[in-house]
Symmetry: none
DNA sequence: CATGAATGAGAATTCATTCAT
DNA sequence: TATGAATGAATTCTCATTCAT
């Protein structure tokens, strides 16, 4: 049967997507990432995602099953991105203190440049990680990362630069916390403290503070 | 006395038409606090608040005008509670290090005991603090608190116990961040790090870590 | 906001209305006239009327029984006003042509100065005059007016200035129609005809047109 | 075949899930026209429109976006109808006086046969034409009509049958006013003048009056 | 005569998902 | 694989009126 059917009147032959499953799937995922990052899980609209991806709404269900499963895919992608970027830092080949400084700086800048990532994580926690719980890939994604930080700590301790017995998980959460909280809670904090927390100087000061804090904590 | 009336279902015999504005207002506020704390702003349902408060839905609009204004009232109440509790710590009369340790411990425990508070703050930040912006009381509530921490830092610096020039706002946000992030993001973190972050030992360890971190940072 | 509670500190002792039935009734009626004139029957709010009249909502029901009955009272008042103003024109003592010219000019200006009157009449017609139907005073109010116009026509016909056999009711409705329609429908007409119908020159032109039309019609 | 299904009440066995967008849209528009014409904008109920159109309420929003946009569509349709009917009068090919007489008669009869049109226009004016203001088609619909009347007046003046310099807009509004007011305000007028304005003889008399008035006015 | 708290029955609009083609 | 029309259950908010004090 000839495509571009007769019901479509003047102007006809709309750019009816060629049958390209891969591309369609990718477009949906990209659109969904934008939507979820901007509005969170509950704020996102399936209709809008379909529109932004220029696909039929039905396709979303075809490829992803449900809004929740789509959200999980987005979330996995987001975690993969940050973990990949971290891997590219090559922390293994840096001196321990430099490695930590690099990691802290990277984390801060990543949060700053990818506010959508913070919102995704926030959304997921609001839902008690019910999506991530069912993820098959997420753990494998993170254990190398934790292991890498543990390695840095061990090296630092061996060299006498870092104190002994620091829990890498505790440290990771701290590095994340000091930036994450500042950025996600900047709206209320700005009011409470009556200060523009996003002014360039303020951002620089916060990064300096975090580095200072983390390295200070590690000092033996 | 006729008990309840037949049109009402289970739970009956409620003191309807109580004609007690103070109590009604209070009941609405209490119910709303519970609902918003549990489900956030967008998850909360006005219907459910009315039900839980055992008032006619219309009353919520009578007393508070809109869901948003009700949320602001809840938020102001929540901030008032924590700030009042802090005031009762009497930090002014403690030695600087003891004051900080007390504040850190208090903050952690408060977050732990009042998860709803964290969710309210989170919700408000998801909405870019649009409610708090219109609040007339919120700033007055916080400036004494910031001033008090600044005073502790000054005393500590004078005694040579704390380093000089520490920004009290930066410190406050840090104390908050280290606990807040751990608790609100525990769902994703638990999966990523494959660890039960809410185990009593884990909680104790986190508090110890935070105290250690903060006091370590302040040390000259 | 619930009033009358102990929190009402300074300024206390609200101007709790002295018991003055007459004044209360009058205040309600005035407030209702404004509200109905501005927003029509269905747009008007009982709450707002009470607020504007600075009386308790219950009083409206006490004095007028219902929103509908209040509307009728307002309507009767509005008709009384215009008919009284007309009576003051003393048309009986003017020459027939001058009388008609005066009546037409008065009608136009009254509509222009009292847009609320037009809206009240419009509202009432939207409801098929169900309020006016029950009015006991409205007919007595109008028969003298019709009689007066009939008299002018008779005088004019006798003097050979006006044509014979003109129906005073038909004429009255025409005088009203030519101004009423122009003013009430000016919003759609402005768009349809792409012209500012409320410009001073346009208003003057319409009045001139109406006078011209009516007197032209009466000419023998 | 199971007829209808038990969940549906009387009237059942409707062709649900008709999957015929054109027809659905048309059904909604027709139902909405009836509802708005009968009850005005604010009196109309979206629920009832959906019911009358035998569509899911959601479809109204799917096709028209909002109650207001639906109202605009209805309004545009109503104007298109009357303007089309006018065009079919072929006034261009009639002698000037005959053309005016035909137009006046048509207008009167159209109002009489389509009271819904009057109510739609009335509603729109109550809302200060806020819908029509945004219409893209309404002006194009009317300018040919105005031009046609202007042409008739020019022809009449050239032949010495009509007076010179008559404003076609003024005349149009007059033709409309004389019928519109009589019909929309017949409820209050009937009471005020104590006369049955809808009696066949009364209707005939009014039409005769209007023709007489308009042609009289045009006479040089 | 006066107060204002309380009520219940709707109002428009939204949303994830499914179905016919 | 692809389309987009169709669904029903909720959601916030409104309003004239009545009741306890």
């Amino acid at each position: 049967m000839p495509v571009g059917d007769s019901r479509r009147g003047a102007g006809g032959s709309l750019p009816r997507r060629a049958r390209n499953p891969e591309a369609t799937r990718r477009r949906i995922l990209r659109a969904a990432t934008g939507e979820f990052a901007r509005l969170g899980l509950s704020g996102a609209r399936v209709d809008r995602i379909a529109e932004r991806a220029r696909v039929n709404k039905r396709m979303i269900y075809h490829y992803f099953g449900s809004k929740d499963e789509l959200f999980l895919a987005v979330l996995e992608g987001a975690y993969a991105n940050i973990r990949n970027a971290e891997r590219r830092l090559d922390l293994e080949h840096l001196a321990p203190e430099e490695a930590i400084r690099t990691l802290v700086t990277f984390t801060w800048n990543y949060y700053l440049d990818n506010p959508g990532f913070l919102r995704l994580v926030n959304s997921e926690n609001l839902h008690k990680a019910r999506h991530l719980k069912r993820s098959k890939v997420i753990k494998d994604m993170h254990s190398p990362f934790v292991e890498m930080v543990a390695d840095i700590l061990r090296r630092g301790a061996r060299h006498g630069i870092f104190r002994k017995g620091v829990d890498p998980v505790q440290l990771n959460m701290t590095i994340a916390a000091l930036g994450y909280y500042y950025l996600t809670n900047r709206y209320t904090s700005s009011i409470i403290f009556d200060r523009d927390l996003m002014a360039p100087a303020a951002l620089d000061a916060r990064l300096a503070f975090i580095i200072d804090n983390v390295l200070g904590y590690l000092r033996p």
